[in-house]
């Protein structure tokens, strides 16, 4: 891994401009959920209409949608459900879950072909829920393919040791650490931000006071993605936090939508 120099460009230096609110900021939520999990939140989003209603209420323009129908339902089924649901709504983009190729449930070639057919640009790994080892032996073939095609891989940050290994072993893989948990994880993820240009953060549960401001100052805003965590977490809290961050407008635009839009644009399944 190469050392990433501090990206203190004129465009993203939080100290150059005063903080100001951004009521009209375009927001593209990279971490929203639809479905009926076994242990549902108090008000689950069971369909696209429920998610869209919350997006309207909070002023969120678009969302990358992950299935909440896991892990009892097969990801093969859930992936298709999410794709079908998003096809009807221009503001929603589907994200699919992966399985390792060795069991022939989701061969790499077929996965990529199906992604192209369904317009899917983003994948998510849930190794604990789907019981596979997240390592080079199990996922090497898949990770090499999606690295070459610049397909972002969302991965809930639970085992940081494994995440460090994957980022080290697959330096071209675009890993988005999501669901960080509300206890600050800087000591885990900062070494990755410092050394891997393909390591990204989804910030739905990164609520640390002053945390994002300092990340922007030290590493730039290019690898930070706005997410709400809805329907598990309130969309209002995360969206307001991003709108009112003490950082320049351009950095907010990057975090709020532009970084994700770039990732989607560059993803070629």
């Amino acid at each position: 891994m190469k050392k990433i120099m501090r990206r203190r460009t004129a465009k993203t230096d939080a100290r150059q401009l005063p903080a100001y609110p951004a009521p009209d900021l375009r927001l593209f939520d990279c971490y929203a959920h639809i479905g009926s999990p076994c242990q549902p939140p108090l008000y689950p989003a069971l369909d696209a209409e429920a998610l869209l209603a919350e997006m309207d209420f909070c002023g969120v323009d678009a969302a990358l949608v992950h299935s909440a129908n896991t892990p009892l339902a097969s990801p093969v089924v859930c992936n298709q459900e999410i794709a079908d649901l998003c096809r009807l709504h221009r503001r929603l983009q589907p994200a699919w879950d992966i399985l390792p190729p060795q069991t022939d449930e989701m061969p790499v070639e077929r996965l990529l072909r199906d992604m192209r057919a369904a317009g899917v640009k983003v994948l998510r790994a849930r190794p604990d829920e789907y019981r596979f080892a997240m390592n080079a032996l199990t996922c090497g073939e898949l990770f090499e393919e999606i690295s070459a095609r610049r397909i972002p891989l969302f991965w809930a940050a639970r085992d940081w040791g494994r995440m460090h290994e994957i980022v080290r072993d697959f330096p071209r893989l675009r890993v988005v650490a999501c669901d960080l948990g509300c206890w600050g994880s800087d000591r885990y993820f900062r070494p990755l931000l410092a050394t891997s240009e393909n390591f990204y953060l989804e910030i739905s549960s990164y609520e640390l006071d002053g945390g994002i401001t300092r990340l922007v100052r030290k590493y730039g805003a290019e690898r930070i993605l706005f997410g709400s965590g809805f329907h598990y977490r309130p969309m209002g809290g995360a969206s307001l936090l991003v709108r009112n961050l003490d950082i320049p407008r351009q950095a907010k635009e990057m975090i709020g939508h532009a970084n994700l839009e770039r990732l989607l644009r560059e993803s070629k399944p």
């Binding site: 009521p23 939140p41 209420f57 006071d209 977490r233 309130p234 709108r243 009112n244």
Partner: protein
């Protein structure tokens, strides 16, 4: 796009970046560096800057160090209160595992400046709030109508529903604030707040989707307190959760200020 919520508070937040002028009261904060993770804005001056940015008038807090060493840490809290007497009020942190310190703290409480009540982190200490060691504290809280902020979490056997109910009955004038509202065990928290006039729900780290709406729909809008755990969390997150909850504007104002003002008003 602009949010379609219809709320004067939301409009103010979106247009100005804070709730300046409302006088938000944050009932659950801390101060000082923390071992568990980096907190960039943990000193008193940093916290006041954050409060100014968000429009928080008052923070009631316990010092992180006081949760470990009550003597040293509460002294640091005292210094911060003395430095910012119009922004901070304190919970005097106690650990029942150190009964001598606890007793001394209770005996000395009246001499302190700007402390409004106590804080017990029972689950971390693995010492239940109804242990005999806590008796002097509860007797004083009952006698003086003092608030006691508890760290409560679903499944906790040290400050769980059974312990809170027992204390609420035995000391009906003591004000029991369930920090984190028994996270996950929302029904128990709501039941206790509804049943006992001296029991309150506090929201910090309890902003799961729909919790505030459920509490209000279940009839406890007068018993909910806003909290942020500052310097843990950017208050803007919690404020957003309250203001963008599907509840009335009246309920939002009660949660952000009026309920706490009723509890702490004389001390602010």
């Amino acid at each position: 796009m602009r949010a379609k919520i219809r709320s004067a508070l939301a409009e103010q937040l979106l247009e100005t970046g804070g709730l300046h002028g409302l006088g938000v009261i944050d009932s659950h904060g801390h101060m000082g560096p923390f071992g568990g993770f980096l907190m960039p804005n943990a000193e008193a001056a940093d916290m006041v800057r954050t409060m100014d940015r968000c429009g928080i008038a008052w923070l009631v807090f316990s010092h992180h160090e006081a949760l470990q060493n009550t003597i040293k840490g509460n002294a640091k809290a005292q210094a911060a209160i003395d430095m910012y007497p119009r922004r901070f009020r304190g919970y005097y942190a106690v650990n029942p595992a150190y009964p001598d310190w606890l007793r001394a703290g209770v005996e000395n409480f009246e001499q302190l400046r700007g402390f409004v009540g106590y804080k017990i982190l029972a689950g971390y200490y693995r010492t239940a709030i109804d242990l005999p060691a806590c008796r002097p504290l509860w007797e004083q809280a009952h006698e003086k109508r003092l608030p006691v902020l508890l760290h409560t979490w679903g499944g906790d056997q040290y400050a769980g529903p059974a312990q809170v109910e027992k204390i609420a009955r035995r000391y009906p004038r003591a004000i029991i604030i369930m920090g984190h509202s028994m996270y996950g065990d929302w029904d128990s928290a709501i039941r206790l707040a509804k049943r006992y006039g001296n029991v309150y729900c506090e929201l910090c780290a309890a902003y799961a989707t729909g919790v505030i709406r459920k509490m209000v729909e279940d009839g406890i809008e007068d018993k909910i307190l806003f909290g942020t755990d500052l310097p843990w969390f950017d208050p803007m997150y919690g404020i957003g959760c309250v203001v963008f909850a599907r509840i009335s504007e009246t309920a939002r104002r009660k949660i952000l200020r009026e309920n706490a003002l009723r509890l702490f008003g004389a001390a602010l």
